[in-house]
């Protein structure tokens, strides 16, 4: 079919951003397995963009390649499955930001290469440009290299498929601007920033349809051990950050304004 794509979205799970994080020896997060988790936010944006792109181009398919402990994946997928249609490829691996990004990329690339009937000439590799855990921006680039894809874009906010099949890409650059590039179709890597789509509403029907594939995918999730790649930690700590806040009540607006202007001039 013209302009149909095989979109593979890579994602990890991260602690719900409202949780308090405390590092412990390892390093790891204290009670990591007990913390409520969500799909990594930028990767989630890329999943929604992937689903919208697939819906607009019949014959396209979305795969979600996710690595985390199986039990955690199962919990999070109950919610994610209600958002958009996808086929899960699960990797039973470690959770958390203290693992090595290149080793993670190698595990993801291996899983992607093993997807049966994946047409690499139509492959669009999606994911967040950085995770909310490690935040390195390394995984997707390296996975792309391992899969032999040298058309890569990071900090993507918009991807438009033109009638002639060219992909117009907007990538974030300095100063609040976008770089505009034209790519002559798949295969390509797209590390997404926020994109332009709102989070889809939960659809229990879609959740049930997705879960028919997710449950077997979780059962056959391949166990993954990540190599440290020569990485070691000297320390990991939450910095002291509490400030002595001065609460200013009942001060007239004019007086507050004067105080703010004086502070700005300091």
């Amino acid at each position: 079919m013209p302009n149909s794509f095989q979109i593979v979205v890579c994602s990890s799970l991260v602690p719900d951003p409202l949780q308090t994080l405390e590092p412990v020896a390892g390093p790891a997060l204290k009670n990591e397995m007990m913390l409520p988790a969500v799909l990594d936010p930028w990767a989630a944006c890329s999943l929604y963009e992937a689903a919208a792109l697939a819906a607009a181009h019949p014959g396209s398919k979305v795969y979600l390649v996710a690595m985390a402990p199986k039990a955690k994946l199962q919990q999070v997928m109950m919610t994610v499955a209600q958002k958009v249609p996808f086929e899960l490829v699960a990797l039973d691996g470690p959770l958390g930001g203290f693992t090595d990004a290149q080793s993670t990329a190698a595990a993801l690339a291996e899983a992607i290469a093993a997807i049966p009937a994946l047409d690499r000439s139509k492959l669009l590799l999606f994911g967040g440009w950085e995770s909310a855990s490690r935040g390195a921006g390394v995984t997707l680039q390296t996975a792309g290299e391992l899969l032999g894809i040298t058309e890569q874009f990071q900090g993507v906010d918009q991807l438009t498929v033109r009638d002639d099949g060219q992909l117009e890409v907007l990538e974030r650059v300095e100063g609040g601007r976008h770089q505009v590039s034209l790519c002559q179709g798949a295969p390509a890597v797209f590390g997404w920033a926020t994109g332009n789509l709102a989070e889809p509403r939960n659809s229990p029907q879609m959740g049930m349809a997705n879960m028919r594939g997710i449950t077997p995918a979780l059962m056959k999730a391949k166990p993954v051990k990540l190599d440290a790649n020569g990485l070691s930690y000297v320390s990991a700590a939450v910095p002291k950050q509490t400030r002595e806040t001065r609460l200013v009540r009942d001060m007239p607006a004019e007086e507050i304004a004067r105080e703010i202007v004086a502070w700005m001039a300091e």
């Binding site: 390296t142 100063g175 609040g176 505009v180 034209l182 709102a198 000297v234 950050q241 400030r243 806040t245």
Partner: protein, 337 residues
Amino acid sequence: MEKIFVLTHVDESGTALAKASLEAVSAAVELAKSFSAELTIGLLGADVAQAAAQLAGAAPKVLAVTGQAFAQPRYATDAAACEALVKAAAPTIVLAPSTARFARVMAGVAHRAGGAIDTHITAVSPSLEATRWFYRQRIEAVVKRERRPWFLLLDAGTHAAYSATGAAPAVEAVAVAAPASRTTVAGTRSPQQGEQTIRPNAKLLFVAGAGWTKKQSDGQVHAADAEKLILGFLHAADASLGSSKSLVDQSGENQATLKFMTHLNQIGQTGATPRHAKGLSTCCHGEEPHVVGWRFVNERRAINLDANCGWARGKADVVYLADAFQVMAKVNELLEK
């Protein structure tokens, strides 16, 4: 014995080095001095003759990949150029600035060089321990690597920019055949219609939260007034504009919104973490996912009607319990005088 290599590129003008590149040079010079290591500099751009003068006195050897194919940031060509430069220098430590151009390509280069990479580095100690943040600026860690070459992508604003001393260095060309690429760069585009609200070098960050577009005390929404006040303040104070996620998300949900606000303005967990000396937050609750983006904003003040907002719980230095519409109108009056 470590061999240090710092990769740099020319900025958009094509004649000067990006400021972040000069900061990386500073860090490399300091590091090389601390353990008497050999330092080499790599340069990337269409023509680097003018930019190379900014490297005078930094290193005995400067390598460059030049040519029209390398004028614009593009993964395939930038990766090939950096790969060739690294191969020519054969370093054990590679420092590079975390510019948009290098951030999108350096992990690929590290992979090709058979090395390891760590990004968003804020400090490198003489004992080769690198500091970076995890979990979106919530946990700070110091890391070491045994693997070489070790690539370190330095965050902008963490080192002083290098100042040239003496005559421009001789530049040794490294030949690279531009690889076939299916991508052409068409230029840059600003999402804001006629308004440049993001100013990375501004002294002050002004954050507008969702409260600006909610019903006010008269029961009405005053989005147009909010726009006027915010833009008036940005012009008068030459401040940079940030936002909370809830406000930028509103544009996708067909609610009242501020026309000049986009996702690029978003600060926090899924937004930016800018570096400004001061920050003023208005109509924003100061929840943790937003405040993690304020990690590098030193002095913080907030205007909010809620005494129990996040800012009041140790996240700001001063919280004014007041109506931001009234206060900002007065601030603008004072700034116009």
